[in-house]
């Protein structure tokens, strides 16, 4: 099992695309089993026994597992009982636990991933490429995946594993290649290296950690949410009985498997959806700091933003940017009524452009100019622009949904720094993240959301990602204590060595 590590944009994906025949190399050779090969298309690669499991699953939801696996390679074993027998056999041999007749839409993320792996194996792959397979999984599922991978390895298959989660890489790989800016900077053996060394190899400098030093939490509430309830279609509650308070200088971390109400909560807070019941209150601007809160439940999104709600959206392409517009227009987005973007009803292009230039410099957005479209920037730079934009309006309450998703280590550290900095100055932050290390490291308080309810809370100083993970799957609730949590956690997969 070989792991490939590198920052975002280091060239991991490009390398994999070449290996899988999706892109052609300008120079150099690829050898499979000692024989030199060239791939003109993914078909060639599959023929040579190379299979790829993409980061984003490519499955048809309304088909069964069997149909999904067979789709596109009907010629191998037909579509009937022979195919079924083959799938069952593969599934048993590698412990994938696939149910051929289950509809893919009824499967969870981890199961879908197994179907993807099955698909690749079914096509006769002997070398598997997995692109960031753990990004979407909770720790327990990651352990299960690693068990599967070890199984594959034991059967003589090779696995290439792409990741930038170093703890995982160290726990599972036999050998690790680190690439930076398109070249190999080193190959290491896990037993002889540490996370820190590996990270330094990756970024070429010290590893940033999400830890916050001293607490800056005050007792002045900035945002108070009470009994928030949001009903979905057919009256099913998407959010139920959500209550929390975030004080000045406090980061509230919200853990949860995606799809448990985080998106809806963010929408309700920013005003895209209006709560069916419950109240939102925010510290009043006019009165002295700490001099009380005013109800904002009925405020429009624009009013909330004008009054100091900053928003780093989960999906920056859909909610944070105008991809085909220049950077300076993206700087105006969301703050069109505020300085320096407008004076009265008129836009103030000069100041907006000047301020865009300032953001680009201060937040290290790598771009040749502010007239290029947002889509020409890499994800990390787009995110830096968004963070810069939101921070420039001195928010009092920041909603940060996955602020460092798809962002390289360097940019990640910067964004963490900026959140910490603003927190010191009294910003209240709601942090939602799938990266549990980030959540634990940055937060002052932790809550777990499960099926639209806040089911558990924890102290980030003592909790481990595993313990948090068990609450995320609904197995534990209430106040999570580090010590007596062990019995509650559903330890179907025992691989605690991949402590991140």
């Amino acid at each position: 099992m070989h792991a490939l590590c590198g920052e975002n944009g280091a060239g991991k994906s490009t390398l994999m695309k070449i290996l899988y025949g999706m892109q052609k190399p300008d120079e150099g050779t690829i050898a499979v089993d000692g024989r030199q090969v060239t791939f003109a298309s993914p078909g060639d690669a599959i023929e040579r026994g190379i299979g790829m499991v993409h980061q984003h699953f490519m499955l048809a939801d309304n088909l069964t597992v069997l149909e999904n696996v067979v789709l596109g390679s009907e010629r191998l074993h037909g579509i009937g009982s022979k195919a079924r027998a083959k799938i069952v056999e593969l599934s048993e041999r590698y412990g994938l636990g696939a149910r051929p007749d289950a509809l893919v839409e009824s499967l969870g993320v981890a199961d879908r991933q197994r179907v993807e792996i099955l698909k690749v194996l079914y096509r006769g792959a002997t070398t598997l490429i997995l692109d960031e397979p753990t990004a979407v999984l909770v720790p327990q599922e990651v352990d299960a995946l690693f068990d599967n991978l070890r199984e594959l390895k034991a059967e003589g298959l090779s696995v290439i594993f792409i990741s930038h989660k170093l703890g995982e890489v160290l726990s599972v790989a036999d050998e690790i290649t680190v690439i930076r800016r398109g070249t190999t900077v080193g190959t290491v053996v896990p037993s002889e290296t540490t996370t820190k060394q590996l990270a330094e190899l990756m970024v070429g400098s010290e590893l940033p950690t999400p830890e916050t030093a001293e607490s800056t939490v005050t007792d002045r509430p900035v945002i108070e949410v009470e009994n928030l309830k949001l009903l979905g279609e057919g009256g099913r509650p998407l959010l139920d009985d959500i209550s929390f308070t975030i004080n000045e200088g406090e980061v509230l971390g919200l853990a949860g498997v995606e799809g448990n109400g985080q998106t809806e909560l963010v929408d309700a807070l920013i005003g895209l959806k209006h709560a069916d019941s419950g109240t939102l209150r925010m510290a009043a601007v006019e009165v002295e700091p700490g001099g009380g809160t005013e109800e904002i439940t009925s405020w429009s999104t624009r009013r909330r933003r004008e009054q100091g709600v900053g928003y780093i959206p989960e999906d920056r392409h859909r909610h944070g940017l105008l991809l085909e517009s220049p950077l300076w227009e993206n700087r105006i987005l969301g703050h069109v009524t505020e300085k320096p973007n407008s004076k009265g009803v008129w836009l103030d292009l000069k100041s907006a452009q000047a301020d865009t230039r300032r953001i680009v410099e201060e937040y290290d957005v790598r771009t040749p100019g502010i007239d290029v479209t947002a889509s020409s920037l890499s994800g990390g730079n787009q995110q830096k622009l968004i963070v810069g934009r939101e921070m420039s309006h001195k928010p009092r309450f920041l909603i940060a949904a996955h602020p460092t998703r798809g962002v390289d280590v360097g940019a990640q550290a910067q964004i963490w720094d900026q959140i910490r900095e603003a927190r010191r100055e009294g910003l209240a932050v709601l942090l939602i993240s799938a990266d549990l290390d980030e959540l634990i490291g940055l937060s002052d308080t932790l809550r777990v959301i499960y099926r639209g309810r806040l089911v558990a809370d924890a102290d980030p100083a003592t909790i481990t990602p595993e313990e948090l993970g068990s609450a995320m799957t609904g197995a534990a609730s209430g106040h999570l204590e580090h010590a007596d949590d062990a019995e509650q956690s559903p330890t179907e997969a025992a691989a605690p060595e991949d402590e991140a």
């Binding site: 624009r302 040749p368 100019g369």
Partner: protein, 390 residues
């Protein structure tokens, strides 16, 4: 930086130029297939455009096209398809004609009143579609098409002799308007009379540009068109935006019939020009939603209309112009999308190269920051035009 601006301009021109070339080539193929000279019709039409009186005709006709296309473009800018410009302008022209015949105020009052009536009628008719979309989620495409047909019936009803209709020979009219409501023409001697409303059309184009590119409202509108979800998250009230845009589009559409009504016919009759609203969709597309582009497209359309009349006398069919107009619309849609995608990809590549080469704002030394601050002040104008131009 400069490179990007020049490229943006080139890309902006590439779309329409490719479309026009393709349309001309395909028209020539049609001519060849029907056994005619594939070039002579163009020569004849270009000759026609050399005459002063034809030029005046073209500009006069273009003014109506231009206003109608602006109305369509307002919707396009936020992904709203106001197919109902047709009904809106005809209804507005009819109502204005009736008001103009029944009310007699001094010119200084009469004209503003008439223009206001036209705009309000158009806005009212479009507003129905807007309201339906906002409250009931009815697609504006469907409702505006239906409203077009309803408008025809409404016009038919109001022009009945028992209501406001006046029979003049075989023609059903709304009676002659009081001459205080006639918009002044510019007398150009033997070349004819240039509609005074042409200047109103130009003013509308300027206002359109200013509102879209220089106001908060315009920014919200363009943002909604570029990404509805991002606009909503940025605080744009999507429903109010839809309604406002629809009302604005309708108001402008209401004015589209005014050059003809106030400068020429002074009555609404059966022979009042129709299908302006549909033509306008093609013009707005070709003009890429920018006021200058639309002006060019409107003139081109009017040229094809007016210069093709001569073809009949020279043994060609005037329908050649219609074929060409149709081909332009198809070619435009395809070429714009192709150019847009190519341009985006290319820019991504270029930006990647520039960054790799270290040409980054804030980087030490060379061209980076000094260059950018020098050019972008002046380049702001150029780039505005392209924003959200789809």
């Amino acid at each position: 930086m400069k490179k990007f601006d020049r490229e943006r301009l080139l890309l902006g021109l590439a779309g329409p130029v490719i479309a026009l070339v393709v349309a001309v080539l395909l028209t020539s193929v049609v001519l060849l297939a029907s056994g005619k000279s594939p070039f002579e019709p163009y020569v004849i039409m270009l000759e026609q455009a050399g005459f002063a009186d034809i030029q005046v005709l073209i500009v006069n006709a273009a003014s109506g096209y231009y206003i109608a296309a602006l109305a369509v473009a307002i919707g396009f800018r936020m992904n709203l398809f106001n197919i109902g410009v047709e009904g809106q302008y005809r209804l507005a022209a009819m109502v204005t004609a009736v008001v103009g015949a029944k009310v007699a105020l001094p010119s200084a009052l009469q004209l503003p009143v008439l223009i206001l009536v036209a705009a309000l009628t158009g806005a009212f008719w479009a507003g129905i579609a807007g309201l339906l979309k906002v409250t009931r989620g009815v697609s504006e495409v469907v409702s505006t098409i239906m409203l077009n047909s309803i408008a025809t019936s409404v016009i038919g009803y109001f022009t009945l002799p028992s209501l406001f209709g006046v029979r003049q020979g075989n023609n059903k009219t709304t009676g002659e308007m009081h001459d205080s409501g006639w918009f002044p023409n510019l007398d150009l001697g033997p070349a004819g009379e240039l509609y005074g409303f042409v200047f109103v059309a130009v003013a509308l184009g300027v206002a359109y540009w200013v509102v879209l590119n220089r106001t908060r409202f315009g920014f919200d509108l363009r943002a909604t068109g570029a990404s509805e979800s991002a606009a909503a998250a940025s605080g744009v009230n999507a429903k109010r935006m839809v309604l406002t845009a629809m009302l604005l589009s309708g108001a402008v559409a209401g004015l589209a019939g005014m050059p003809t009504l106030l400068n020429d016919t002074h009555t609404y009759s059966l022979s009042f020009p129709t299908s302006l609203g549909f033509t306008a969709i093609g013009i707005a597309l070709l003009g890429r939603g920018g006021p200058a582009g639309i002006a060019f497209a409107a003139l081109l359309w009017a040229f094809l209309d007016k210069a093709s009349a001569e073809l009949d006398y020279r043994g060609y069919d005037t329908e050649i112009a219609v074929i060409m107009q149709g081909l332009i619309v198809i070619a435009v849609v395809v070429s714009y999308e192709a150019v847009r995608r190519w341009g985006l990809r290319r820019q991504q590549q270029r930006v990647g190269e520039e960054i790799a080469a270290g040409h980054v704002i804030g980087a030490d030394g060379d061209s980076g920051s000094s260059d950018s601050s020098g050019t972008s002040g002046s380049s702001g104008n150029d780039s505005d035009k392209e924003v959200a131009g789809r």
